[in-house]
Symmetry: C2
């Protein structure tokens, strides 16, 4: 086979790849900043930076027909993705996950199945975007505090990019997340504490040792990867949006990213002004967004002594709390906490009825939805999307086995 027909050669030369990234904009003080240097939070006010694009240019090539014909994966949205040179893209095949009908949960319920992403979770999207852009900007060493899946993803994409990866995780992070990090060759440290404690260590050591801290929403590009979930949802529903999105919320990058995605699609004329009601789901043992929503606050005070077996929901405080709360309120949505028992029961129901082994964070969305149907907040006639953010395979403790053993 001659070299220029291989997929690798094609992707190296991909002449159609272009990004219309223009600048970074602070989500709070609205100041503009240079997108082509390594940036984290707004240097002026310390809040979250968003990547901005020339959407007038992007709309010229991002037609529904063109998008449908591109090779699959989240990088087919390249005009509104942050990487300028396609050879900097670090990809393991992330994106374009199935939207599965789940009629035995409800005739109008779908699961967006992020468990089929590389490294088994939606974290692959954000990390692919962040690592690719960091690679383009010359970063060689990255560090992350993580509840588990983000570290797994960073370890994988970092290995693929040839970067050194430092991961800091709570000591009770699921063992499989720890093993993933190790097999990918990351430097892993377990911390007797929560993800917020890990974040504190990374903050201190990153400056001292020259690591780039890819904590979620403390750099501008993980949200760009996550936003592709929202882009896909629009396309999968025929360039409309469902009535309701139920989303498990730890750091909340998915809600923030999808909300941004839909604004960009509307600006390009690809969807209208309708938005889903955004339902944020947290665990009773760690529900800062739910509390803040109920109390009418714009920010969510961190939870003390956070506990839940759904590791990805054990996030006491989110840097983007104000963006999450605004998206929920602007959409007419709500925030719901579910118990550990409700999560376990929902996990089993989804598996036995629909053949999907969801992560507990994903199962929490079904637990929450059932409550909201019962309360009349959700109606069975509405189109509802539950986000399963990862594979249940990483949480074997949720399933007990006691099987018959026989001789042949």
């Amino acid at each position: 086979m001659s070299d220029d027909t291989t997929p690798a050669a094609k992707s190296r030369r991909n002449p159609s790849h272009v990004s219309h990234l223009t600048h970074l904009e602070c989500t709070a003080c609205k100041k503009h900043h240079d997108a082509d240097r390594v940036m984290r939070l707004c240097p002026d006010c310390g809040k979250v930076l968003f990547a901005r694009y020339d959407l007038e240019k992007a709309r010229l090539t991002m037609t529904k027909e063109a998008l449908a014909q591109r090779p699959r994966g989240m990088w087919r949205w390249h005009e509104i993705m942050p990487v300028r040179g396609p050879h900097h893209i670090v990809s393991l095949g992330e994106g374009d996950t199935p939207l599965l009908p789940t009629p035995k949960l409800g005739e109008n319920i779908y699961i967006k199945e992020e468990g089929l992403c590389p490294t088994g979770s939606f974290k692959a999207r954000g990390i692919s975007a962040a690592v690719s852009r960091a690679h383009e900007l010359g970063v060689e060493v990255v560090a992350i505090p993580s509840a588990g899946n983000a570290a797994s993803a960073l370890a994988a994409y970092g290995a693929r990019a040839g970067m050194r990866v430092h991961a800091f995780m709570p000591v009770d992070t699921p063992l499989l997340n720890q093993k993933e990090c190790v097999v990918y060759g990351a430097h892993v440290t377990l911390v007797r504490g929560l993800i917020s404690d890990c974040a504190g260590i990374v903050r201190k050591r990153a400056d001292a040792e020259g690591w780039f801290d890819v904590s979620t929403l403390k750099e501008p590009y993980r949200a760009e990867g996550k936003k592709t979930m929202g882009l896909e949802l629009a396309e999968q529903f025929g360039w409309s949006l469902p009535d309701v999105v139920v989303y498990p919320t730890g750091g909340g990058t998915g809600i923030v990213g999808m909300w941004k995605a839909w604004d960009e699609l509307e600006a390009m004329g690809l969807i209208g002004s309708k938005r889903p009601r955004m339902i944020s789901v947290q665990a009773e043992g760690c529900a800062p967004i739910v509390r803040a929503f109920e109390q009418g606050l714009d920010h969510a005070p961190p939870v003390q002594n956070a506990t839940t077996r759904a590791a990805g929901l054990r996030v006491p405080g989110a840097v983007a709390d104000y963006l999450i709360l605004k998206a929920i309120r602007d959409s007419g949505g709500t925030a719901v906490a579910v118990s550990e028992d409700e999560i376990s029961a929902a996990l089993r129901e989804i598996a036995a009825r629909e053949g999907i082994f969801a992560a507990p964070e994903g199962a929490a969305t079904w637990a929450a939805a059932k409550k909201l149907y019962a309360r009349g907040v959700l109606r069975w006639s509405e189109t509802v999307v539950l986000f399963n953010t990862g594979t249940g395979l990483k949480y074997p403790d949720f399933v007990d086995v006691d099987l018959d053993v026989v001789d042949p």
Copy 2:
């Protein structure tokens, strides 16, 4: 959202779905059989049955352009898939897995990443096809002997189809496979023995209890699902085929299915006569195909006392041995055994260099390829595809962790 714009409504009415399935044909005695009744092996000679299609009709709609525009997944090849009514398709989003360049293994090496299939392995393809067709033919109870991943897949797809599932697995099957089966609600029995012992139990009990036995290649449709790996490979290489395919071989349905796929594509004018050299990889502790290949045999006598930690390779005898050996020989390929240590080392190399946590069966292909490059059987200028048949997440015993623990 009105009902007829939802993805579920669209897939229910999908007017373009048609299968050109015509009959079943015995791969040995060549007799034809009715495809529209429940069939297993050839009723005349006991050998493997293949599904046959009207390829002259199929080629009219299976143009390269049309195929590229269809929604993703293995069911977009519906003209040459066995399900007649699209409402019988039981899908979890299987197929269209990434073909990942792995330049740090070798500039011309790719990994076909089946770890991103539903239930984390390539078994999803065969099982989706078999369960869908069984559903169409009225089957309500299915049974399977399995080394692990096939049972996981059958438990998931069976749950989704509303079937009862009976799985029989060796007592030392990876614990995660057992847990998957349990969470999906399957009836699981562990057997003190090998997959061949499990097969014996299923054979006896299936007749007595009216279960449909979906043992690989003992029914005609799992191979049809597996063949979609070959269809995708042709499309992903721009309607050509790579020089070499390296494939881990337990039951061997993948080799058999892909070989069949390429004949069908050639008959429809979609590819030429070039075929990859097929390299079959087995573990030293269970290498019936390798031995038979080396001894010039047409059939592979079963291995006694099969042992390997790569559970999917612990298959002492394959019902399709004659088809596997013929494909290897017709292609100018070979068969190679690798040691447990070579598998473990290869698994770590793939993860640390390329960010892919392969199953040990998949890692075995890189272990084998390295030997063949060293011997000059493979050349670095050739385009080589390694099949990673599943996610490494199900084999946590391959990774030891001994991590630093610190206080915040």
